[in-house]
Amino acid sequence: MYKILEKKEIAMRNVWYKIQAPHVAGKVKPGQFVIVRAFSNGERIPLTPVMWDAEEGWIVLITFIRGKTTMKMAAELKEGDYILNVAGPLGNPAEMKKFGKILAIGAYTGIVETFPIAKAWHEIGNYVTTLHVTFEPMVVLKEELERAVDSHIVETVPIDPNLDFPTNMKNVTKRLTETVREMLEKEDYDLVFMVGPAGDQRAVFNVVKEFGIPMKADLHPIMVDGTGMCGSCRVTVGGEVKFACIDGPEFDAYQVDWDVLIARSGYYTDMEQRAMQEYMKAIQGGGE
């Protein structure tokens, strides 16, 4: 049981939880994640500590409300409540060395995972530019990133209420790839790093590839245990089967089989929507 010390909505659909979890706070390194199980009938979801304090024993998680679990957490958990399980840290830390000039990208709430890695890269002497592309009301960690890295760029796309969400998301993908192309044309980078939806990661990779710049991607296939036990998160990298949870989550973007990743990431979309709709019906219907 892990106490919620602080909870706030920091942007549309982005919720900040500061959680007492000393076992993670004392050990986590940038690039690692935790598995959270918030409710007794709940699922296990991977989330990334954004910031932490080993001495005080807390971590911060920022969730993007996209399914039943994140929605129920936002709706039902209050400060002072407890999260049932926070397991971790899991996965391998990001590679910490001097790459030179780095462009670290976060699409949507992916920026919260980019944040600790970019900050650490900057601290060891890399020149780090971060790029956050998202919808206008969903900007997060702007001031924090401006303080943490050499240059932080935010590109926002308005939400067109006349268009459905997937079409709106296509506009973000377009802005993302256009911006990355402009930046790579203007300046030489030694490394591109990206966190975000697999489709956007591939779209960015297709641009980066043209410039021949090394690229790392943090992959987010569906996970269950997060400890290498189930194989749900398997990805094809360099023609081999890898488990994102124990071999990753960071991989060489040039080696990733994006078709496999994208197909696997969407396998439960219909059931996820059903779970969310039933939950929304239940809370709108007046509770129990």
Partner: protein
């Protein structure tokens, strides 16, 4: 005293729910004995002497089987006393009888050489063990016995860390707690139990029973830290600084995959993932429980071990038409006889001599069929006594919307990367005759050293390791006293 007795050849059957009823739910299949039926079965036992009894020799933890069976007959007029006495005999060797009574492969162990088998049916030892445990639990007799034990425990003041709350770790923890050690279990998942929780289905081992067995450990003073991954949350070095000894019971959690094109298509599960979703996460209760699982109309399970049977029978309960494809023949099926029989009763088909060579997907990256090479057996046998098989060059393609790979597991990778811990080529931790690893004070047992074995062998290791740790720590204690 030798008493003349009438030999009863036939086993007293245990009631089972009919196949057509049970394939619609996850409730337990076998209903077990009542006291009356248990006594009738117990009376069939010939009461071989302790030093001879082949059942005791066949049991990996050497339970005094004739001893506990005789209590049921001796105190037949006082069921509570009969069960308490019988449980006391079992507990001397086995602290999880409700579990082993259900999942042990008795036909290859205690029941294998039962003398009754020469004239009739062998004694149903597994179901008698299960009866004692179940009756004791329902009547609170196990707690009564536990509370008689607890005050007698003398604390040693030494601390032992256990890695993994599966059968090996739970057993070691219980034994060490009874010997007076301060025991803490580190468990990566959110529930203790290991394979008993994530692997073995509810209809074979109800989770409430496992939870009760774990409650008893807590009453013995064992602390369980869930969400702690040794190697990540805490390192072996830190454990060695804070504890006097460590036991590794981390199991064989890494699933083996088939090296064939299409293995990463959607709809292909490892048995571990499928069973974890269904058992631990309760995906069969979706959307009441949040974790989804997808079971198509046609399911192919690859592999015919106990895990294969568990996966196939679970899939059947989602309404699927299930085929178990095995690369060898029927004679080499390694699952327990009871599981194979139950699977057949439930309408699961078996297809032999099929070796998967390719998984075929649709345009959305979802599996739709499996291509197999037909195999044939040679007369020559391999090191495990199974007939060698070779490909025939002929192929067959079977449709499937869901494929479950149940061809085995390797030891957990996270733990075997511990610096200084020696492992063999297959990742099994190397131990000496006292189950001590290459790191002094660190012991290991169960699937972590065996690769892939059974619950009871893991429990046997947990017990042996507890004994070895006790000896190791007793010496350490005496050494410290001598120095003081």
């Amino acid at each position: 005293m030798v008493r003349k007795r009438r030999i009863i050849k036939e086993r007293v059957p245990t009631p089972e729910r009919p196949a057509e009823e049970r394939i619609h739910d996850f409730k337990e299949v076998n209903l077990g004995y009542t006291f009356g039926l248990a006594v009738k079965e117990a009376e069939r036992c010939l009461q071989c002497p302790y030093n001879y009894a082949p059942c005791i020799k066949g049991c990996p933890v050497h339970i005094d089987i004739p001893g506990f069976i005789s209590k049921l007959v001796q105190y037949r007029d006082d069921p509570d006393k009969a069960v308490k006495e019988a449980l006391n005999v079992i507990w001397a060797c086995n602290s999880l009888p409700a579990t082993t009574g259900r999942v042990c492969p008795q036909e290859d162990q205690c029941e294998m050489n039962c003398v009754m088998g020469k004239v009739g049916d062998k004694i149903n030892i597994g179901k008698l063990e299960r009866f004692v445990a179940d009756y004791a639990r329902e009547k609170g007799i196990d707690e009564e016995l536990l509370f008689e034990i607890i005050p007698k425990i003398e604390k040693t003041g030494q601390r032992v860390a256990i890695i993994g709350a599966g059968p090996a770790g739970l057993t070691a923890a219980g034994e060490l707690a009874k010997l007076g050690y301060d025991v803490t279990i580190y468990e990566a998942l959110h529930e203790p139990g290991g394979v008993l929780m994530y692997g073995i289905p509810e209809f074979r081992l109800p989770k409430s029973i496992v939870e009760k067995e774990i409650d008893k450990l807590r009453k013995l003073g064992v602390k369980i830290l869930t969400d702690h991954i040794v190697g990540k949350t805490v390192t072996m070095d830190e454990l060695l600084q804070n504890y006097d000894a460590v036991f590794i019971g981390s199991g064989a959690g890494t699933p083996r995959l088939i090296n064939a094109p299409g293995i990463n298509l959607n709809g292909i599960y490892t048995a571990n993932e499928f069973l974890t979703r269904v058992n631990l996460m309760k995906a069969y209760l979706f959307p009441e429980y949040d974790t989804p699982v997808k079971v198509g109309k046609k399911v192919i399970v690859i592999g015919a071990g106990n895990t294969g049977m568990d996966a196939a029978r679970s899939a059947r309960r989602f309404g699927a038409e299930v085929t178990i494809a095995y690369r060898r023949g029927e004679e080499d099926v390694s699952a327990r006889i009871e599981e194979v029989e139950h699977a057949k009763e439930e309408g699961i088909k078996f297809a032999y001599f099929l070796n998967p060579v390719e998984f075929i997907g649709d345009e959305n990256g979802k599996v739709k069929a499996v291509k197999f090479e037909k195999m044939k057996a040679l007369d020559e046998r391999d090191s495990r006594g199974k007939r060698k098989i070779v490909g025939t060059g002929e192929y067959v393609t079977l449709e499937a919307e869901t494929v479950i790979i149940a061809i085995g597991k390797h030891p957990n990778r996270l733990i075997i990367n511990t610096p200084g811990l020696e492992v063999d080529k297959r990742g099994k931790i190397i131990v000496d005759e006292n189950l001590m690893t290459s790191i002094p004070g660190v012991f290991a047992g169960g699937d972590a050293i065996r690769g892939e074995a059974t619950v009871i062998l893991a429990m046997g290791d947990g017990r042996r390791a507890a004994k070895a740790i006790h000896e190791y720590l007793t010496k350490k204690r005496e050494g410290q006293k001598a120095n003081a």
